[in-house]
Amino acid sequence: MSDKTVHCRNYNENPCSMCMPMGGILPFKGIGQSMVIIHGSQGCSTYMRRHIAEHFNEPIDVASSSLNEKGTIYGGEENLKKGLDNLIKAYRPRVIGVLTTCLAETIGEDIDRIVEEYRLERGLGQECSIIAVPTPGYGGTHFEGYWLALKELARLAGRVPKHSRINVIIPNLSPADIREIKRILGLMKIEYILLPDFSDTLDRPFERPYKKIPGGGTELSDIMAMGGSRATIQMGMTVDERLSPGKYLEKEFGVPLYNIPVPMGIEGTDTFLGLLSRISGHPAPEELSRERGRLLDCMIDSHKYNFRGRSVIFGEPELVGAMAATCIENGIFPVVLATGSKTEKLSRLLQPWLEEHHIKCLFLTETDFFTIREQAVRGKANIAIGHSDGRYLTEREGIPLVRAGFPIHDRVGGQRLLSVGYAGTAMFLDRITNTLLENKYSNYRSSMYRKFYRGDEKDAVPAGKSR
């Protein structure tokens, strides 16, 4: 029941994606005592820092090898080594992520060799791990950068004795979502290794004295133990196998992999809890049952309002998949699902959902906001769900935007948005329902007046228009 278009033009008009190294920074920020250096020109790290800082409202220190003309011509090795020296001097990190850029990859920097040489030259031992990740900006979007960095981190896992913990690998969620997943794991009495965990590092409390590297994050020793875990639960249905840390752990150490969607909505959260229960043998506690009941209550209370919603949902594939499923559960049927990344898996994942409810929906991959806007209008969308870059849908088309995902830079609180689990889903739904209601309340008087009193059919406000 769904149409597919593949976006193929000679230019991108208003991007719906960011670049690979940007995505690679985020997992490293969720590792204990870690720092990142971008091997490229100074601007890359500065732009990415600015972009991330604006979303999380946190200081985002990311170093740069500050490649200049000389380094570009003769190789940037010296710059990178010097950069590592200075970075270590100022931050004393336990883990360093070295991410490359378009520039470094195009001039052919052999990053693994440089890092290896650096370790030997400086006599670096166990006190500091350096992980190199090839992330040319033209190689994919931030989504691929995020997962590739995670996979490279997973490669730190060693052959260790089997233990009872469960690996939980998560996509780019908000710190509030990560905290909720940890709370649920706690309620289920699961011992786990969470990768990555930026719930504290990118949403830290105000405290003194200021620490250059915030506390929290996945411990290196825990990552090393991931090879001995009982199972891996990876919230990565749309992740390519080449980039899948869970797949790597399965292949290398035989850790069984359970790939599941982000636990949003009734079905998504049921799947997560059911799986936890099955693996651990622990039943879900009464507290979670009550939360589920409350979510059902919320869904029933709002169902008629929600059924008026025609949604356009965009962002990283994994989140788009989870949000779309949640919307479908509640009758907020999507007319456009869009991502800047290249993926076939998103449409395959949602196909059964769309068929069940006979939903005609357009999938846009490798797309931009020009196309999303055009198709949202064509599909008569009246609610947009996604990150801040969708704001023109509101500004130009009057389609209200419920902000979700990354980045959110024109509102505060992106780091505090809670959308996972039963309780989080209820909050996510309330944000959508209330936006639909607000739009309705602010338009229905004038709309009915124009339509019936003046009898001006042409003037009647279309679903999404506020004018």
Binding site: R9, N10, Y11, N12, E13, N14, P15, M18, C19, P21, I37, G40, S41, Q42, G43, C44, T46, Y47, M48, R50, H51, A53, E54, N57, E58, P59, D61, V62, A63, S64, S65, S66, N68, E69, G71, T72, K82, D85, N86, L87, K89, A90, C102, L103, T106, I107, P136, G137, Y138, G139, T141, R204, F206, R208, P209, Y210, K212, G340, D389, H409
Partner: protein, 455 residues
């Protein structure tokens, strides 16, 4: 409330010692305009950033970034530059280069992208920004643009802004070079003796160009074209028809001003419309250049009226802000210099001041102006900002988006003096806004609570 001082006098990076000086303590000159130190987390951006900042406010141009997606993504409509009409500048176009384009070259894709965009938007001007890899894979931007220009009968200009060829200042220069190619020679001989001026180095953030245009109009002086806030292709072409250039953001525009003098004999004056003192002084400077009694009288009338109105409000703020200590870390020298004066108007001492791309002569001025003990630094990083804000007991930091969370985490108030702000800080109205913002952040009730715990 102030940052808690810590005992830590040694520098984090020994190699940076020439870029930092404490007035009264060190005699040597501050080193600046050099490459950033790898690994120290410089706050600087790149050549592309500098070029984009200067050119993006041209409202009716297609701004096409030739490169991978990130460069266009991070600069899409992030600034507060306003337009009186066209909105095309708020769109971010990219050739979105992929692996194959890197291997086989991006020239053909670029040419097709230009063709499609011209067909769709019919612009008079297309600006094509080069990014790091374009400089490396050797796409001939100049040739592609020339051919496209001929094909469509419009101006298609390359902006040589590959990120690694220097710092942000090199980007300013690349932007000015593109602007120079837009400007047409004046018709007839030399600049006509009109009272038209060009305003260089204002990007119309929250309507700042309009504020200054209004002042000039009240004085009887017409603004010919502003570089580049709320400018259009057609008006930029007529820039050589002005009799005077006034330059605000000197860091980005002094090169263009010199070129315009050299090519078309248009003299320039340095001005600043940040703060009461600078605004009044700049308006007087312009009036006296024209040597016209009417203009001077009208300028004085305007200054008196506006200063009285603003002065009253500023003195209310001054009473409440007197004695506070400010730290400043901004992009260029002109802004830093103006801020010292503006803080002085509010009774606030500047205890730390630095810029990303300040020039030697600007740092000399800064060092002369500040008090003994003030730290002056070029191309700082978070470690140094933290260290000196704490050591100097700053209550407030002025900076951009990246510096803001650092200030807040240190429990220090913050002023956004960057390109994405949504309120004007220029002219008399801007001086009052500035004081209001300082008051709103320094005197907020939230600081009462940062010292304690639950019990």
């Amino acid at each position: 409330m102030s940052a808690q001082p810590e005992k830590n006098s040694g520098l984090v990076f020994e190699e940076r010692k020439d870029f930092i000086l404490t007035k009264g303590k060190h005699r040597q000159q501050l080193k600046c305009e050099a490459d950033s130190l790898a690994g120290c987390v410089s706050q600087r951006a790149c050549v592309y950033c500098g070029a984009r900042v200067v050119l993006n406010p041209i409202t009716d141009a297609v701004h096409l970034v030739h490169g991978p997606i990130g460069c266009a993504s991070y600069t899409w409509d992030i600034r507060g530059s306003l337009s009186s009409g066209p909105e095309l500048y708020r769109f971010s176009f990219s050739t979105d280069l992929k692996e194959g384009d890197i291997i086989f070259g991006g020239e053909k894709k670029l040419a097709r992208a230009i063709d499609e965009l011209v067909g769709k938007y019919h612009p008079g001007l297309v600006l094509v920004y080069s990014t790091c890899i374009v400089g490396v894979i050797g796409d001939d931007l100049e040739a592609v643009c020339r051919a496209a220009s001929e094909r469509h009968g419009i101006e298609v200009l390359p902006v040589q802004s590959s990120g690694f060829i220097g710092n942000k200042s090199a980007g300013y220069r690349a932007a000015c070079d593109a602007l120079l190619r837009i400007i047409r020679p004046p018709e007839g001989k030399g600049p006509p003796g009109t009272k038209k001026i060009n305003y260089l180095g204002d990007f119309n953030l929250a309507g700042e160009v309009w504020i200054i245009k209004g002042y000039l109009k009240q004085m009887g002086v017409d603004m010919n074209v502003s570089f580049t806030g709320d400018s259009r292709y057609e008006t930029l072409q007529r820039a050589a028809g002005a009799s005077l250039n006034i330059v605000q953001c000197a860091g980005s525009m002094i090169y263009l001003a010199n070129k315009l003098e050299e090519l078309y004999g248009i003299p320039y004056l340095n001005v600043s419309f940040l703060g009461l003192e600078d605004t009044a002084q700049s308006l007087r400077k312009i009036a006296s250049w024209f040597g016209d009694g009417g203009i001077t009288a009208r300028a004085e009338e305007l200054i008196e009226r506006e200063s009285a109105r603003a002065g009253k409000r500023l003195s209310w703020y001054r009473e409440r802000l007197q004695g506070k200590k400010a730290a400043v870390y901004v992009g260029g020298g002109f802004k830093a210099i103006s801020l010292i004066k503006q803080f002085r108007e509010l009774g606030i001492d500047v205890v730390m001041i630095g810029t990303q791309t300040g020039r030697k002569e600007e740092y000399e001025t800064i060092s002369e102006m500040v008090d003994e003990g003030t730290v002056v630094l070029d191309d700082a990083n978070p470690s140094e900002l933290e260290k000196f804000m704490l050591e100097k007991g700053a209550h407030l930091l002025v900076g951009g988006v990246k510096e803001r969370p650092l200030a807040y985490k240190l429990g220090v108030a913050f002023i956004d003096h960057n390109h994405d702000r949504k309120h004007p800080l220029s002219g008399f109205v801007g001086a009052v806004n500035f004081a209001g913002e300082v008051y709103s952040t320094l005197c907020s009730p939230v600081w009462k609570y940062v010292g304690g715990g639950i019990l």
